[in-house]
C-alpha cells in the first residue's frame, strides 16, 4: 500500500494514500470539529459535502484554509489545526451558521442532542456577532411521522445523502440557490404527497432540528389519565437494546426487565411485548412460505414487517405487489389481537382499549394510520412512540430508568421466544422463520438454532439452508438502495431466491429512525445488535412455534395459522402508489 508522510501540528506520521486530513488527524489524537461530515463505515453511508466549513485547517503553501473532511493527504503535507488562523476560520464558520439559525434551543425538540448546539459549546461561542436576514419557511406538519422545519436546516446535505444515495427514494433535494436554498421535495410538495417511505433515516442523521419526529408523548399521558380507557402498551425488540443509552447506560445494555417495570410505573393497564406478536408473525409468515413452496406459489416471498420497505415497494415497484408476504407487521398484529382476543378475554369493549406502541421507527407512526390496517373505524394501534419519545415520557414522569428493578410482562400477550427478539437486527426475521419452517417441513427437532450465515452488517447477504431435501436460498438486504438491487433482479428474472428479508434501516430496526441518535457512530449499532443475539441465546425457548401463549391463542381463538380467521385479522394487501 502506498504510504504518505504527513505532519500534523508538529507530529510526523504515515498514512495510506487516500486518507483524508480528518482521518489522519484522528490517528494522532488530534480532534477536528465537524458538522456536515458523516461516515458510517461498512454501512456505506458517507456524507462528504464539505458544505459546513467547520473542519477547516491550515495547510502549508495553500493560500486558503481547506476542509479536512474531504481534502486528502498529499506527500509531505504540513497541516496545522491549532493555529490562530485555523481556529478563527472554524469559529467564523460556526458563527455564520448561527447568524441564520433560530436560538430557541430551550424549547427545541433537539435540545441537548443537537450537533450545532454541541459545536457552539465546544467552540466556546458566547455571542452571535452578525445580525442579518433570517430564513422564514413554513414547517411541514403534513405527515404522521416527521416534521420538516427548513428554518433549522444548515444545508449539510446529510438527509439528502441518506434519501438519495442510501435509500434511493429521491424525495429530498436542495432547492433554489444562495441564501434562499433549502432542502425539500419536488415542487416543495408536502411530505405526505411525495413517495416518502417515512423510514426516518433523514431524521436519524439530521444534526439539528430541521427534521424531527412527530411527538405524541402528550397523547399517551392524556390516555393514561383517562379513567374510561384501558391502555395497553407493546414494545418492539430493538428498544431493549437501545433505551439505556438515553439514561447514560452503555450502548448494548439489555433493559427488557426495566422496560416492563417502567410501563407498570407509568400506569399502563396491560404491559406487553411486541415480541409476542413477532412470534405470531412467524407462525403466519412461515405458514405462508411453506404454502407458497408447496403450491408453486409466487417466489421469492419477501418479508413485510418493515412499513418503510412496504411503502417503498408500493411507490417504486407497483408492478410487483404479489411478491411480499401478506402478513401484517408485528406491531399491527399485536393491535389486532389486543382489540379482539384480549378484549374478549378481559371482557372489555374494544373501543375502550387504547393500544400504545413503543417503536424504534418513524414509519410505524404512519403505518398505524393506514386505513386497511384498522378494525372498522378504530385503529389497531392508536399511538406510536419512538424510543426517544419513550425516554422523554419516562423523564417527564420522573422514572429513574437506570435504577429500576426488573419486572415481567403480563401474560396473554407477554411471552416471547428468542426467535422474536432477533427481529430487531438485519437477518433476524428470516432466521426466526427458518427455525420454525425447518421443524414444520422436516418434522424433526432443530438442535442448533443459530444460523450465523444469516447475520452480519453487509448490505446484501445470501445463504442457502438445507431443509429436508430442499435447499432454501435466502437473501437479506438492509437499506432501501440494497433492497432495490434485489427487487430489480427479481423483476429481470435473475433472482433464484426462495425468500428475502428486507429492512429499510441500516442494521435493521436497531438503526431505526426513532432510536437514540447514534451521532455517526456505527459501533453503537453493532452493540445493539449483539445485545439482541445475547438475549436470544439466554432464552429457554428460541423457536416461535414453541411460545405457549401463541399456541393457546391459536387453540382458543385463531384456529390454525394462515387459516380463515388469521386471514381476516392478520393479513393485508398492498396498493400501487405514484412515484414522485
Amino acid at each position: 500500500m502506498d504510504m504518505l508522510n504527513v505532519n500534523i501540528n508538529g507530529m510526523d506520521l504515515q498514512v495510506p494514500k487516500g486518507t483524508t486530513i480528518l482521518e489522519a488527524a484522528k490517528k494522532c489524537n488530534v480532534h477536528i470539529p465537524t458538522l456536515c461530515h458523516l461516515n458510517l463505515g461498512e454501512l456505506g453511508v458517507v456524507n462528504q459535502t464539505a458544505s459546513c466549513r467547520v473542519c477547516m485547517v491550515e495547510v502549508d503553501k495553500r493560500p486558503a484554509l481547506v476542509p479536512s473532511c474531504s481534502d486528502k493527504v498529499t506527500e509531505g503535507m504540513v497541516v496545522k489545526t491549532d493555529s490562530m488562523r485555523a481556529i478563527a476560520g472554524r469559529r467564523t464558520s460556526v458563527e455564520l451558521l448561527l447568524s441564520n439559525h433560530p436560538t430557541d434551543c430551550l424549547v427545541c425538540p433537539k435540545n441537548l442532542s443537537c450537533d450545532l448546539q454541541s459545536l457552539a459549546q465546544e467552540l466556546g461561542i458566547r455571542e452571535i456577532k452578525w445580525e442579518g436576514k433570517r430564513m422564514d419557511y413554513e414547517k411541514d406538519l403534513s405527515s404522521y411521522s416527521l416534521i420538516k422545519d427548513p428554518n433549522k436546516c444548515i444545508m449539510c446535505r446529510r438527509c439528502e445523502t441518506m434519501c438519495n444515495d442510501v435509500q434511493t427514494c429521491g424525495i429530498l433535494s436542495a432547492i433554489d440557490r444562495g441564501f434562499d436554498a433549502f432542502v425539500g421535495p419536488a415542487f416543495n410538495l408536502d411530505m405526505v404527497d411525495t413517495s416518502c417511505t417515512f423510514c426516518g433515516q433523514c431524521v436519524a442523521v439530521c444534526p439539528t432540528a430541521a427534521l424531527t419526529e412527530v411527538n405524541e408523548v402528550g397523547d399517551v399521558l392524556r390516555e393514561l389519565n383517562d379513567e374510561s380507557k384501558h391502555v395497553v402498551v407493546q414494545v418492539a425488540p430493538a428498544i431493549r437494546a437501545a433505551i439505556g443509552e438515553m439514561f447514560g447506560m452503555e450502548p448494548g445494555t439489555l433493559s427488557t426487565g426495566k422496560i416492563a417495570a417502567s410501563f407498570r410505573r407509568l400506569g399502563f393497564d396491560g404491559v406487553f411485548d411486541t415480541d409476542f406478536a413477532a412470534d405470531l408473525t412467524i407462525m403466519e409468515e412461515a405458514s405462508e412460505l411453506v404454502h407458497r413452496i408447496q403450491n408453486n406459489g409466487r417466489l421469492p416471498m419477501l418479508t413485510s414487517c418493515c412499513p418503510a420497505w412496504v411503502k417503498f415497494m408500493e411507490h417504486q415497484f407497483p408492478d410487483m405487489l404479489d411478491v411480499p408476504s401478506s402478513c401484517q407487521s408485528p406491531q399491527i398484529m399485536f393491535g389486532a389481537i389486543a382489540k379482539t382476543y384480549y378484549a374478549e378475554k378481559m371482557n372489555l369493549n374494544p373501543e375502550d382499549i387504547t393500544v400504545v406502541s413503543v417503536m424504534p421507527c418513524l414509519a410505524k407512526k404512519a403505518e398505524a394510520h393506514r386505513p386497511e390496517l384498522s378494525c372498522g373505524s378504530d385503529s389497531n394501534v392508536d399511538i406510536v412512540l419512538s424510543t426517544r419519545e419513550y425516554a422523554q415520557l419516562l423523564k417527564e414522569a420522573g422514572i429513574d430508568f437506570a435504577t429500576l428493578a426488573d419486572d415481567e410482562f403480563d401474560s396473554l400477550m407477554g411471552e416471547s421466544t428468542g426467535a422474536s427478539v432477533i427481529f430487531g437486527a438485519t437477518g433476524g426475521v428470516i432466521e426466526a422463520a427458518v427455525r420454525t419452517a425447518y421443524e414444520w417441513i422436516t418434522g424433526e427437532t432443530l438442535e442448533n438454532v443459530e444460523f450465523k450465515q444469516l447475520r452480519g452488517m453487509e448490505g446484501i447477504r445470501e445463504a442457502t439452508v438445507t431443509i429436508g431435501d430442499m435447499d432454501v436460498k435466502i437473501g437479506i438486504a438492509h437499506e432501501l438502495g440494497n433492497a432495490r438491487k434485489l427487487l430489480e433482479d427479481i423483476r429481470d428474472g435473475k433472482s433464484d431466491y426462495h425468500v428475502i428479508e428486507i429492512m429499510a434501516c441500516p442494521g435493521g430496526c436497531v438503526g431505526g429512525g426513532g432510536q437514540p441518535y447514534h451521532h455517526g457512530d456505527i459501533e453503537i449499532l453493532k452493540k445493539r445488535t449483539a445485545a439482541l443475539y445475547r438475549e436470544d441465546e439466554g432464552k429457554a425457548k428460541r423457536k416461535s412455534h414453541e411460545n405457549e401463549q401463541i399456541i393457546k391463542l391459536y387453540e382458543e381463538f385463531l384456529g390454525k395459522p394462515f387459516g380463515e380467521k388469521s386471514h381476516k385479522l392478520l393479513h393485508t394487501c398492498y396498493q400501487p402508489r405514484e412515484r414522485i
Binding site: 405527515s143 424525495i171 433535494s173 436542495a174 419536488a186 415542487f187 416543495n188 404527497d193 412515484r579
Partner: protein, 172 residues
C-alpha cells in the same frame, strides 16, 4: 389537522399539448447520456413548452430516470428556467456591474411601472415578461436591455415607453 395518506394530488395539473410531449420524448430518446444531459434536456423542454411547469418536470424526471426532486432542484437553481408561462416578449434588463452603475435599476423600475407588473411577472395579456438578468457581456452598451433576441443599448428611462410601444405595434 393532519392529512390522511393520499395519492399525489393531480387535480391541479395542467393539460399540455400531446405533440409537445412527443417532441420532447423524441429528443430525449436521442440523448446518449441522459442523466448527464439533464440541463440540455430542460433547455429543450423550455423551448418546446415555453416554460417548465411541474408536469413537464415530472415527465423529464420519469423519462431520464432521476428523482423529480433533483429535476426541481436544477430548475429552481438556474434563473434561466421558468416555471410559469412567459409572455410573447421577454424583456431582460441586465443588472451586471457595468449596467448597475449606469442605473439599470431605474430602467427596470420604469419597465415595471409602464407594464404594471413586478420583475419576474407577466402582463395579463401574455405579451410581456419582465426579468432582471446577470451580466450579458455587452458592457459597452450599458445599460442594456434584451427584448427577445433584440439588443437595446444605452437605454434611458425616457426610452422605455417607446421600446414597449415598438413591440406592441409589431403585434398589431
Amino acid at each position: 389537522m393532519q392529512k390522511q395518506h393520499e395519492q399525489l394530488k393531480t387535480n391541479d395539473f395542467v393539460e399540455l399539448p400531446k405533440e409537445h410531449y412527443e417532441e420532447l420524448e423524441t429528443y430525449i430518446s436521442g440523448v446518449k447520456d441522459k442523466e448527464g444531459s439533464l440541463i440540455h434536456i430542460l433547455h429543450k423542454a423550455q423551448e418546446i413548452f415555453g416554460y417548465l411547469p411541474k408536469e413537464v418536470q415530472l415527465f423529464v424526471s420519469r423519462q431520464v430516470g432521476i428523482p423529480a426532486a433533483k429535476v426541481y432542484g436544477v430548475v429552481s437553481f438556474y434563473s434561466f428556467f421558468t416555471q410559469k408561462p412567459v409572455g410573447k416578449h421577454k424583456i431582460s434588463v441586465c443588472m451586471g456591474t457595468a449596467c448597475f452603475v449606469k442605473k439599470a435599476e431605474k430602467i427596470l423600475d420604469a419597465f415595471a411601472a409602464e407594464l404594471g407588473i413586478n420583475k419576474g411577472e407577466t402582463t395579463e395579456d401574455m405579451l410581456f415578461t419582465l426579468r432582471d438578468v446577470r451580466c450579458v457581456g455587452a458592457c459597452g452598451l450599458a445599460p442594456v436591455v434584451f427584448v427577445g433576441d433584440n439588443v437595446h443599448g444605452h437605454v434611458a428611462v425616457e426610452d422605455v415607453k417607446d421600446i414597449i410601444q415598438q413591440y406592441r405595434k409589431g403585434d398589431e
